[in-house]
């Protein structure tokens, strides 16, 4: 395969030196990470910040820097990567740049499961939330896959069924919200997607999974490239289309499910990140995946940082900000998109 291969929906990016772009992106992400550590409701002097990060500060800001800002920023890296890589896989499989983890029911499934827990069973500890939410996403995605399966998976049908299942699940969320208003605030914040008060424990619990699946996705990069050429071509090139598709989708579901499980539904990241990455480095998955991961990280990081500094001490959930940015971007995408 050569670097000039175009995929079904390659937006014609200049791909002369994608690795340079990747490293530049990485530098930006690291820079933003540092910046984000430095800002928030409480002003911490720059030098103090640096010292505290390395554990040699006065100790006055240890909690704010080490236990509050750093874990949530680490979480931004984790879920940004998770959502973006998931989105890339899904777009690769559905062969439509407009697809995203939201489309195949993960978000609605996770949302409904969390709503059931938060609203319908208020006596159950919220510690179970990530698990329940992950399970919900998984079940929804499986349901979508089964319902969409008709002698193989047609990408368009997958999208359509995904939307229908999401619509049904969303009605379920509505029902719970109107019937059990006591816990409403909690549920709303959860459903809006936020990195508020995430801990190192949560990061450590989820990071290995995201990492492993990310590596797994990278190992599938070549197959995804071939799949992007169309089913016939792929079969011609010796790729077993259906199993590959299933595996890629499973990875995507696990990635998005895990991300949503810890942070709620941070919307549009899984949609925007792959697309921006594709414009930067082209459609080849071995570079597209890491680039998308970085773009996703950047998006979540920016949203979270903004949310913290807009009107402190009140925080705007990151998911609200990504949606406000992501919605118009999607509209722009759709406007340009010529396929189905």
């Amino acid at each position: 395969m050569t670097a000039t291969t175009t995929t079904a929906f390659d937006s014609g990016a200049r791909t002369q030196n994608p690795w340079v772009k990747l490293y530049i992106l990485l530098a930006i992400a690291v820079g933003l990470t540092l910046y984000s550590i430095g800002v928030g409701a409480i002003r911490v002097p720059v030098w103090e910040t640096v010292q505290t990060v390395f554990g040699v500060g006065s100790g006055k800001f240890d909690y704010i820097i080490q236990q509050y800002r750093m874990p949530r920023i680490a979480m931004a890296w984790i879920v940004g990567t998770g959502l973006a890589v998931s989105g890339t896989m899904i777009q690769g499989v559905i062969r439509n740049p407009l697809a995203s983890p939201e489309i195949i029911g993960i978000t609605a499934g996770a949302g409904l499961a969390s709503a059931v827990l938060l609203l319908g069973m208020p006596e159950v500890s919220v510690q179970f939330l990530p698990f329940v939410s992950f399970l919900g996403g998984l079940i929804a995605a499986a349901l979508v896959y089964v319902l969409a399966f008709k002698r193989g998976i047609s990408p368009a049908r997958l999208a359509l069924v995904g939307i229908a299942v999401s619509a049904v699940f969303t009605s379920g969320i509505d029902y719970l919200m109107t019937s059990f208003p006591v816990q409403l605030d909690l549920a709303l914040i959860w459903l809006a997607g936020s990195l508020w008060a995430r801990s190192w424990e949560q990061c450590i619990a989820i990071a290995p999974w995201i990492l492993i699946m990310f590596v797994g996705c990278l190992m599938m990069a070549h197959k995804l490239d071939v799949l992007a050429l169309g089913d016939e071509q792929a079969i011609g090139l010796g790729v077993r289309v259906e199993p590959t598709r299933l595996l890629a989708l499973a990875m995507a579901v696990a990635l998005a499910g895990a991300s949503v499980a810890v942070c709620g539904t941070i919307g549009f990241v899984g949609l925007m990140a792959p697309h921006m990455a594709r414009r930067l480095v082209g459609g080849q998955h071995h570079i597209l995946l890491p680039t998308a991961a970085l773009v996703g990280t950047l998006l979540v990081l920016i949203a979270d940082t903004l949310g913290r500094i807009i009107s402190p001490p009140v925080e705007v959930p990151a998911g609200v900000i990504t949606s406000i940015v992501g919605g118009p971007y999607f509209i722009y995408l759709l406007y340009r998109h010529r396929g189905w």
């Binding site: 368009a156 999208a159 359509l160 619509a167 709303l188 949606s323």
Partner: protein, 357 residues
């Protein structure tokens, strides 16, 4: 245009109900529904007899007052909202020639409810410090309707163009994708507004599910003219829609101006869907499934559909509203929950039957 391969058609059903039979049955169902709706409620002992007596021999008693000022407007509003949504769905599916088009999917509901919700939360019209100081359904029906229209138009037009209807790139999935994205965007904006304004969370969430429970004759007066406008639009467009169903080139060949049809239809949709959202909140799935049920019953002729769809829409809504009362009896639950519970699975079923290339 290769739309026949690209677009979607639900399988024709060979045996159809004769028109008259379909109408009589739906009409009877609606009448029974209206009777049930006006005789089931928190205050007991209000039966069909009260219904008739309050009409012919009104005596101002509590029973008669409840019948005339609470239950009748509620039933009537339910019927009108259902009719409006069905008309909206019918027009949308006709114009876009897309079986999945409906106010919910087209972003019309989302747009209207965002605008109305922003009115509630006081974000829209930033000068307002208190939600109530702007407009409220009962205070100034004329206040909230334009807001809802604006929102409906905003969401609908966005999806219409993005979904490729305007440019003839008719594809059901694309349209649905566009609708979902626009709805998601509008819904997140709304969530943001709700989260940032703490006090009114419950009220907005209840409103967002869609309900007709607290309605009065003002609401009925608000929506009725638009229902008539909607009916007029369908009557005017019926033949054009029939031609359009054969293909755009056929319609053009027979001297129809596609753009005019779309513009008039679009305005009609905004009127019916916007006014329905203004009085009842974003009720989902009625606009989607009622036209399908009608086509299964009596076929694809819009001249007949335009009468049956509102009738069935009204029926569905009235029964949903009745069922909603039993969710937390004797207290209220939004009727939109029931329509979603019924409509959601039907939507799934439709996607199973929809042919996609």
């Amino acid at each position: 245009m290769a739309n026949t391969t690209n677009s979607v058609s639900t399988r024709r059903v060979s045996r159809r109900l004769p028109y008259l039979k379909a109408f009589v049955i739906s009409f009877l169902l609606l009448i029974i529904g209206l009777l049930l709706s006006t005789t089931i409620g928190a205050v007991e002992g209000i039966n069909a007899k009260v219904f008739f007596l309050s009409l012919v021999q009104y005596d101002g008693s509590i029973e008669h007052l409840i019948m005339r000022t609470l239950r009748m407007p509620r039933a009537a509003l339910g019927a009108l909202v259902g009719a409006n949504l069905a008309i909206a769905g019918l027009l949308m599916q006709g114009i876009s020639r897309n079986p999945l088009a409906s106010p919910g999917i087209f972003g019309v509901n989302a747009g209207a409810s965002l605008f109305v919700a922003l009115t509630f939360t006081g974000v829209y019209g930033a000068a307002a410090t208190d939600a109530s100081s702007i407009t409220l359904p009962f205070v100034g029906p004329l206040g909230i309707v334009p807001v809802a229209f604006l929102g409906a138009a905003f969401g609908g037009v966005l999806v219409y163009f993005l979904g490729g209807v305007a440019s003839g790139r008719v594809n059901p999935v694309r349209l649905v994708l566009a609708g979902v994205a626009v709805s998601t965007l509008l819904a997140s904006l709304m969530k943001g507004a709700i989260i940032l304004r703490d006090d009114q969370t419950d009220s907005i969430v209840f409103w967002l599910a869609g309900a007709v429970d607290g309605s009065d004759w003002n609401d009925v007066r608000t929506i009725l003219p638009w229902t008539i406008v909607g009916l007029g639009t369908t009557v005017y467009l019926a033949v054009s829609l029939n031609l359009l169903a054969l293909g755009e080139d056929v319609a053009v060949g027979l001297g129809r101006n596609i753009h005019v049809i779309r513009a008039i239809g679009g305005l009609g949709i905004i009127c019916v869907a916007g006014s329905a959202v203004a009085v009842a909140g974003p009720i989902t799935f009625v606009g989607l499934i009622v036209p399908h049920i009608c086509r299964r019953l009596i076929g694809v002729d819009h001249r007949v559909l335009l009468a049956l769809a509102p009738l069935l829409g009204a029926t569905m809504m009235v029964y949903s509203d009745i069922l909603a009362r039993f969710i937390a009896y004797p207290f209220e639950s939004p009727a939109g929950i029931v329509t979603a519970l019924v409509g959601g699975p039907y939507f799934l079923y439709l996607t199973q039957r929809t042919r996609i290339d």
